[in-house]
Amino acid sequence: MNDAALPLQRFTVVEVNAPGVPLCLRLATSLAGKIAADLGAEVLKIEPPGGDPVRRAAPLLPGGSSALFQFLNTSKRSLVLDLATDAGRTALAGLLGRAQACLFEEPAAIASSLRSGPATPIEIAAFPLEMDAAARPVSELAIQALGGLMHMIGTPDARPLKLAGHQASYAAGLTAFTGLAAALAAHDAGRAAPAVRVSLAEVMQWVNWKAASGAAATGTSPGREGDRSEFQVLPCRDGFVAVVYTATQWPATRALIGDPALADPKFATRAGRRQHIAALYDALRPWFAARTRAEIQQEAQGKGVPFGPVFTPAELLETEQYVARGFLAEMTLPDGDRLRLPQLPVQWNGRSFAPRPAPALGEAA
């Protein structure tokens, strides 16, 4: 690959945004298309008249455009087609005839024709085929509940919690990109490319496999443990730090904190630490309270202890590691908003994939 060439630039992918599809499916489709586009594929985003509703979705930027849309549609081209009309469907068929793959969502009215079209279908759905539930209402939260993720987060005597962000959508979007890459690889090798179907519920369950493996091994499901968990988040002088260490890192952790109470034999084994978790955290708390996140990270890393300072998205913009690696691309939108946005989280022979701004509605017409 020379400097100018991008790895997927010989491929064309059509991303069909049919109207009326649940937002959580659209975000998955859009993420898969974005990754392909940033890697150089020509991604034609087919929007309904009026545009993808994500153009108006929170969080909004000062100039009024959607941060969510800007993030999920970098490097794509936009075309408006009314797929309820013969003309719209004919135009789409023409585009599909020169595309290798087509991303679309199961509830789309046009889904059945896309499944049998010339471009390899990459289909995003809410639920597995066995649930016979194409019409079942769906949301990000419902998928995190169904896949068991919410059961794992929070305190046992209070509400289960979702993990922040569009994790069900994005895990499915990453999966759909991998399925797309596999289909393109088969195509490239002269083999029949497999049709790919990704459901948010299956991906969430797959991501949460330790709940199933734990339940199968012991009969008892792992679950949210709150202040009985071995790993907790403690306040420090300027924020919070996640207390994380492995069994083999316990002696280093004990030495780092330096409280003689931690030398008590009841803390010597993992089972003992779990049994006396409240006393253990009572001994840890003052050390954290007396230090800043930066001091904690420096002292802990010096002893090989993986404590995690909690950073906000705003703080990540300034984080030394991200700045040094050039992880955040700078971009100026036509309305004047200046952004920094995460690039694809990979460097290929040291190169990042700089995204182009998301397209205006129908700009490729």
Binding site: A145, T175, A193, A215, A216, P222, P306, F311, V346, Q347
Partner: protein, 374 residues
């Protein structure tokens, strides 16, 4: 079953989830995956998932079994010059390397990207690390939920107005998603290597992958000084009302409403969870039970193709997607330590009895660990 990666061979140094699961996903697509461990260094999943202390305990971890099916297993000592030589010979027969050691470990063994590229210029070398291969924090240690905290996910997760929360050791969320992303990039790089004859070095930062899943929050924070959210409970920007509520049978359900509704808590409290979910769905409201691990095992329709059984009938990880409507068949269970060392060295390198015996005598190959806990 479609096998888009048939003919691709992977040298797999992957450990735990981030590395080992990336290779597992390549295996599921038809690649021949050779998992490399050694007597002195087991995949930590063999140890943290230990279920007994009897002979052979290292071959019985459910977490190892879940993640390493459809691979062949070799035990070769990375610290012994003879072990390093054998691995370099294997690299000449491979298309992909996957590793998630701490930075520098493979370089010190003479098995880093530069060394293996000299043996095989077509290699795609996927290095997965907590912070990436460059930058001032490249040597920082992390474990699972360290990255929930440092990526930004924890800052927005938690009860409203309360402390941030991490996904915790029974989820280790950042480890799971990195394998979904890395697999797609490795496939992309394999296509490019086939076309050009040149491999590449893929540098993945797990922390960046986790932050990438909050892309819109980082974008919003960069343009708008007023965008400084904290833990959001179960709410989301742009959603009128959603949360979890406890039902009459003591179980929790989650629902996303079109508008705030003061009666929903009482509605749930008056019904068993299955009835409440069914009633809400019938009203067009997205609702679901907050399943636990046992619920996931019981609901085979929901499990789809994500959980399957190996040849011994044991439960293992399946596929996150379907190819031509299908899941996968497990063609071989997760390997015992060093189970296929001799067979692979005979098949690929043409080694004979004398060479294999010498490697065993020298402690280069092994089928039992030389260490206890890791």
């Amino acid at each position: 079953m479609s096998r888009p990666l048939a003919g691709i061979r992977v040298l797999d140094f992957g450990l735990l989830t981030a590395g080992a699961n990336t290779s597992a996903m390549l295996a599921d697509l038809g690649a021949d995956v050779l998992k490399i461990e050694s007597g002195a260094y087991l995949d930590p999943f063999r140890v943290v998932g230990k279920i007994d202390d009897d002979e052979g305990w290292w071959n019985r971890s459910p977490q190892f079994r879940f993640t390493n099916r459809n691979k062949r297993g070799l035990a070769l000592n990375l610290k012994a010059p003879e072990g390093q030589r054998v691995i370099r010979e294997l690299a000449a027969h491979c298309d992909v390397v996957v590793e998630n050691f701490r930075r520098g470990v493979l370089d010190r063994a003479g098995l880093g990207w530069e060394a293996l590229k000299a043996v095989n210029p077509r290699l795609v070398f996927a290095a997965i690390s907590s912070q990436g291969d460059t930058g001032p924090e490249r040597m920082n240690v992390s474990f699972g939920s360290t990255l929930d905290a440092t990526s930004g996910i924890a800052a927005l997760t938690g009860y409203e107005g309360a402390s941030p929360r991490i996904s915790g050791m029974d989820v280790n969320y950042p480890d799971q998603i990195v394998s979904l992303f890395a697999t797609g990039l490795v496939i992309t790089a394999v296509m490019e290597a086939r076309r050009t004859g040149a491999g590449c070095f893929l540098d993945f930062s797990q922390r960046e992958v986790a932050s990438f899943t909050l892309g819109e929050e980082i974008v919003a924070a960069s343009a708008d000084p007023a965008h400084r959210p904290g833990p959001r409970g179960n709410g989301e920007p742009g959603i009128a009302a959603q949360d979890a509520w406890r039902c009459r049978d003591g179980r929790w359900i989650a629902a996303t409403l079109d508008a705030p509704d003061d009666t929903i808590a009482a509605f749930c409290a008056a019904r068993d969870s299955a009835d409440a979910v069914a009633a809400l769905l019938a009203r067009g409201i997205a609702a679901a039970p907050c399943n636990d691990g046992n619920d996931l095992l019981r609901d085979t329709a929901l499990a789809g193709v994500t959980l399957v059984r190996d040849e011994a009938g044991a439960l293992v990880k399946g596929l996150p997607y379907r190819l031509d409507g299908m899941g996968i068949a497990i063609e071989c269970a997760a390997p015992d330590l060093g189970q296929h060392t001799d067979a692979v060295l005979r098949q690929l390198l043409g080694y004979g009895d004398a060479e294999l015996a010498a490697l065993e005598t020298a402690g280069v190959t092994a089928t039992t660990p030389t260490v206890g806990d890791i």
